[in-house]
Symmetry: C2
Subunit: 352 residues, 2 copies
Amino acid sequence: MSAKTTLGIVAPKIRFREPQIEMAHGAGGKASRRLVEGLFAPILFGDSSSPLGDSAHLEINGARMAVTTDSFVVKPLQFPGGSIGELAINGTVNDLAVSGAVPQAIVVTLILESGLRTEILQAEIEAMARAAQAARVRIAGGDTKVVEHGKADGMYITTTGLGAPLAGIEIDPRSVRAGDKVLLSGPIGDHGITILLARGELDMEGDLRSDTRAVYPLVNAVLQAAGPGVRWMRDPTRGGVATSLNELARDCGLGVILFEDSVPVHDAVRGACELLGLDPLHIANEGQFLAVVAPELADAALKALQEAPGGEEARLIGEIREQPAGSVLVTTLYGGSRIVDMLVGDPLPRIC
Amino acid sequence: MSAKTTLGIVAPKIRFREPQIEMAHGAGGKASRRLVEGLFAPILFGDSSSPLGDSAHLEINGARMAVTTDSFVVKPLQFPGGSIGELAINGTVNDLAVSGAVPQAIVVTLILESGLRTEILQAEIEAMARAAQAARVRIAGGDTKVVEHGKADGMYITTTGLGAPLAGIEIDPRSVRAGDKVLLSGPIGDHGITILLARGELDMEGDLRSDTRAVYPLVNAVLQAAGPGVRWMRDPTRGGVATSLNELARDCGLGVILFEDSVPVHDAVRGACELLGLDPLHIANEGQFLAVVAPELADAALKALQEAPGGEEARLIGEIREQPAGSVLVTTLYGGSRIVDMLVGDPLPRIC
């Protein structure tokens, strides 16, 4: 998940001064970043100035490995195109994949609500098993807690993934250079808008499905084509593409130029966003990723991505420039441009 | 945590037929085992017949490593002797330690309730940092989600621990033999009864503190003294000593004889249990462990344990015999004896 542990190397130190936790602190945008950088990081990580990505890479028993962890609290538990169990596997294997690691094993904890129907639980256990099999990861163990009725919306799932880092691949925002190209694996916003519609709180219907899937095969296509030319990757989940690219801009100290007309967006997502006053660039995705690739290898990487199953709608959506340093500038075919910030507030709570 | 993923090799296959989840399914006793063995294991692990312990040991990138995961939902968040943050670190490093691995790194997720006061959150982040430092593990990353007010009792914490398995140490119930001795690191029931009293629902007071601590130094003392003579270890958390030993009896197919008068129990725990009709053997511990050691090395292991700081109250509390196969028989000095089962029901919900 983007934002979660990313420690900035550009921005000045901040302190968390808010008196209490609000929904926005879990939205993956600016408030989440304030909480992580202003409260968690100073206590847990000291003065570390390394940007941490989607996964931590560390050494255990003499071997390098990647680890990532996420809790899933999506509401409702089931939605068109997926469910919490599938999301909990895919979200974690994707965090490993975009860190340049081959997903290998997952451990799972369940916090269940007393009174949860067994068939609902069983459906999610089966969804996890199917997703793990599709992603070729082994579920290696787990734990279950039960809380009183009303205390967990059915269930919360936490998954931790372990992976083997690919040799020669170094995913690090500090290796990004002006001139690098930004690739996107497919259309954005499907997951966030699907969840919003599935809640039935809006008088809106749409033929949309969550894009949840394991992206490792697509990531692998890019890595095979561009290898060490792949500087950085991320799955733009909470906070969307705009938040992930803002984090990149901050962490590399360069500007990200985004060609808005090149960003694929389904009509149903665009329509819902217009009605709600949201920007598709801020809407969460669960089956897409961004890749920054050295310019001489970008065409080959894009071609490999588009030729891989499920990558047909991949596009080159932007490039890295010296300016505006630390920011994301969105440009349109007609010459318009605007700075787009990280997600502020939480217009779509609990989408993963 | 005991019970969580232990797949029996003795018991016949069971199916989970209960229509909904109850608090007892999270209590670590019989109901938890039915849920894991009857529903989770067949779907997630297939027909595996290997008993899984507190941690899974697997190979990533050519190196063996240990991984374990647990969610913590203890209520209240703070209690005499500890708090949820400290528990979340200690519980996980202890699961690694009793599997014969040196704890090395932890990742953490927080599910926070909207409206949670920042000072309460900060206190738990600090408690985690202190506990991690004391246990010499690095907190390598994390994730935060926020749910609506009323949905998470302040916070739930999930920790996943990674460790390096010690060479030459094989913790496996199948290696236990008749004649082996059972050691216990210290007095039982302090944690469970402390939580119960801290809730203030009972008209009882007691000068008790949770025993939460990292047991690795004590485990290491045993391993240094008895090495490969250490057959099996476990931290008797949910379900207590009786549940852990019943799992051992089932998994090794032998009988566990427990010398009741040798089991250290503080007076306050004994008194509360008598009033409540509970058996101290079923009460949760968070800073103790059981070890089964080959008979010729048991004295040396016990001596090493008692000489290590915090191990002074360790005792030899039982032995393994051929009969009663698959069960735990409690004997007293006066010649009485009784079979003690796993925990049934959930007399002490949400103690970790």
